[in-house]
Symmetry: C2
Subunit: 303 residues, 2 copies
DNA sequence: CCACATCCATGCCGTCAGGTTATAGGTGCA
DNA sequence: TGCACCTATAACCTGACGGCATGGATGTGG
C-alpha cells in the first residue's frame, strides 16, 4: 500500500490539531483539500481513522495506532535523507557549510581560505541561511557544519564551539534622536519598536530582542525580516530599530542606518556547530579547527 | 522532503536490478516512466543516485546509502499499516480470518460456528485467498489468523498448529486412461502435464507438484491457476492433472473431473496460523482453540 | 562492415489526482 | 434569529504520471 509522506504529514497534523480547519491552516492548504486527502487516506488504507463531528475530528482506535507510529516513521525518513545528502557531499569532496547572515562576517573568508589550504581537493559549499533557520540548516541535516550566533534553539543536540565574542550594538535609522549619542543605554531603547526575526526562530528571536534584559517589559515589534537586506531596509525606513553584532557596523553599512554601541546588554557569541555523528569525520573536524584557529583574530571584535 | 513510497519502491527495484529496463518490467511500468520517475526522485532529493551508462544504472555513493536504508523504511511502513488494520478489526470486534481455497473444507463451518458460540458479539470476517498467496494474507497482515495447507513459505516467522492430516489424491480429467484405476502409483503420473499454482507461491507450488518425490525428474506444467474454479476447468479441459487433498473429491466434485487415491506421495496437513504478536491476544487464541477442538473430526479425513 | 541488440533519454498526448474558491449543511450559542 | 464553528460537496484548473513511438549511444555477431 503506497502513500505519499505528505499524506502522512497531513494525517499527523489533523490528529494533533483535532480539526481539519486548524490543521489546514497549519499546513497552508485549504480545508477542502485536507478533507479530500484524509478521506482518500482512509479509503486507501481501508481503515476509518477519524470520527467526524461538529466539534472536530477525533481519532478512532486504528487512527490512534497509526498516529503513534507515523511520526517516528517520518523522522526515520528524514534521517535517511540526511544521511544520503551527507554521503553525496563526502563523495563529491564538498563540505556543506551553513552560515547565518551576519554570523562570522569578516572571519568567514579567512576560515574558508584556511580550509582550502588544509584540504586541497575539497570545496566548501557555502549556504547562507535566513534567520528563520538559526541553526543554519544543521538541524535539518542540510549542511555538515555551520557558522552561527549562539545560543540558538536545538544546540543541545549538536556540538558547538565558541569562536569569539563581540558586543551587541544597536542599528537605528540615521534620523533617530538617539543616533547622535556615542553610547546608548539599553533602558532608553526598551520602548522602541524593534525589527525582529520570524517567529519560527523561537527564542533565538527573543534573544535578539533582548527579552532577557527587559525584566518582563513587553517588546514592540515594528517589522519582521529574515535576511539582511530586508532588515536594513526596515530599519532605514523607520519601522524599528534592532540589535546587531558590532561587526555589522562595518559589514552591513548602509546609508540611512546608523550603528551605535549599547550598554546594559550582554555580548553576542559567534560559534561553529556540527552534528555529533561527525565527531570523528576528519573533514568536519578540520573545518572546526580552521574556525578555532582563524576565526578569532587578535584585537579584532573581541569583547 | 516528501516522497511517495511508490517512488521509493521504484528506486529499490532499479537499485536491485541494475537497469531501468529490467526494473520497469518487474514493476509493470514502461521504461520511460521509470526513467522519468527516477530522474524526478533525484531532483527532488537534490542528490544524484545513479550513474548512467550503456551497461545500466550503477548506484552512486549517496545512492548506496539510500539503498541500504530504504527497504527497512518500507518494511516499517508496511508493519505500521498492519498494526493499524489489526487495531481496526479489534475495535470493530471483527476477527479477520484468511483461508486458502481447499484448506479446511468441511471443517471450516464447524470452526466458525464454534467461534461464534464462544465469542458472542464478535464476527469472523472470512477472506478466501488465492493460491498465489499461500499464507492466506497472514504474511501481509491482511488477516489475524489463517486456515491453510502446510507447509507454506514464510511459516517460520509465524505460529502454526496442525489440525489434521489427509492423503493427497490426484484429480484427472474423467476421460484420462488412469481415471478408472482404484489406486494410482505416483510413478505413473510423473510425466503427465500438471496444473500448477502461480510462481509467486514459491516452493508451495513445488510441494503440490510433488517435486520432492520426483528425484530431480522435471515437471511438465500444463496450466497455471490460482483458484478452484479455474483449476477445475483446466483439469476438465485436459490441460493437466493435479494433486489435491482427499476432501476435494467431496468438496470440489465436478463433472469431467475424477479424483483417485495416489500411492507413493506424502499426505497433506491442514493448519491454523497466526502472528507471534497475537500470542497473547485472547480472541485469536480462542479462534485457534476452536480450530484445534473442532477442526479434526474423529474418523473424518484423518490419514 | 553492417545490421542488431541493449541500454537510457525525449517528445507528445490523454487521464486523473490534487489544489483552489464558493457554497451547502449541521449544530451550539448569544 | 443570526453568528460562529465545524465538515462536506461542486466546479474548475493545473500539473504530474503513465503510455507509445522514437532517438542516440555503444558494444556484438555474422
Amino acid at each position: 500500500m503506497d502513500v505519499d509522506t505528505r499524506l502522512l504529514r497531513y494525517f499527523v497534523a489533523v490528529a494533533e490539531e483535532g480539526t481539519l480547519t486548524r490543521a489546514a491552516e497549519r499546513l497552508f492548504v485549504s480545508q477542502p483539500a485536507l478533507t479530500k486527502q484524509i478521506k482518500q487516506l482512509e479509503t486507501r488504507l481501508g481503515v476509518r481513522l477519524f470520527t467526524r463531528s461538529r466539534t472536530g475530528m477525533a481519532l478512532t482506535e486504528p487512527g490512534r495506532a497509526l498516529a503513534e507510529r507515523v511520526p517516528g516513521l517520518l523522522a526515520d525518513w528524514d534521517q535517511v535523507l540526511r544521511e544520503a545528502k551527507s554521503a553525496a557531499g563526502r563523495a563529491a569532496r564538498v563540505l556543506r557549510v551553513g552560515f547565518l547572515a551576519s554570523a562570522a562576517n569578516e572571519a568567514t573568508p579567512r576560515i574558508i581560505t584556511e580550509f582550502a589550504r588544509r584540504r586541497p581537493g575539497w570545496r566548501a559549499d557555502m549556504r547562507q541561511a535566513t534567520w528563520s533557520n538559526p541553526s543554519a540548516g544543521l538541524a535539518d541535516g542540510d549542511v555538515d557544519v555551520a557558522l552561527l550566533r549562539m545560543p540558538f534553539p536545538g544546540q543541545d543536540a549538536l556540538r558547538t564551539a565558541v569562536l569569539f565574542t563581540e558586543p551587541r550594538w544597536v542599528a537605528l535609522p540615521t534620523g533617530h534622536p538617539l543616533a547622535t549619542c556615542d553610547l546608548i543605554a539599553f533602558d532608553d531603547l526598551r520602548d522602541e519598536p524593534f525589527v525582529a526575526a520570524p517567529p519560527e526562530s523561537g527564542w533565538w528571536r527573543d534573544h535578539w530582542l533582548a527579552v532577557d534584559e527587559r525584566d518582563g517589559h513587553p517588546v514592540t515589534i515594528g517589522a519582521v525580516t529574515d535576511q539582511p537586506d530586508d532588515w536594513l531596509s526596515a530599519i532605514a525606513n523607520g519601522y524599528g530599530i534592532a540589535f546587531a553584532p558590532a561587526s555589522a557596523a562595518r559589514f552591513y553599512a548602509r546609508p540611512g542606518v546608523t550603528y551605535r554601541p549599547v550598554s546594559g546588554i550582554s555580548p553576542s557569541r559567534v560559534g561553529v556547530a556540527w552534528s555529533p555523528a561527525d565527531d570523528t569525520d576528519p573533514v568536519v573536524q578540520d573545518f572546526v579547527r580552521c574556525c578555532l584557529d582563524h576565526g578569532p583574530r587578535p584585537g579584532e571584535n573581541s569583547a
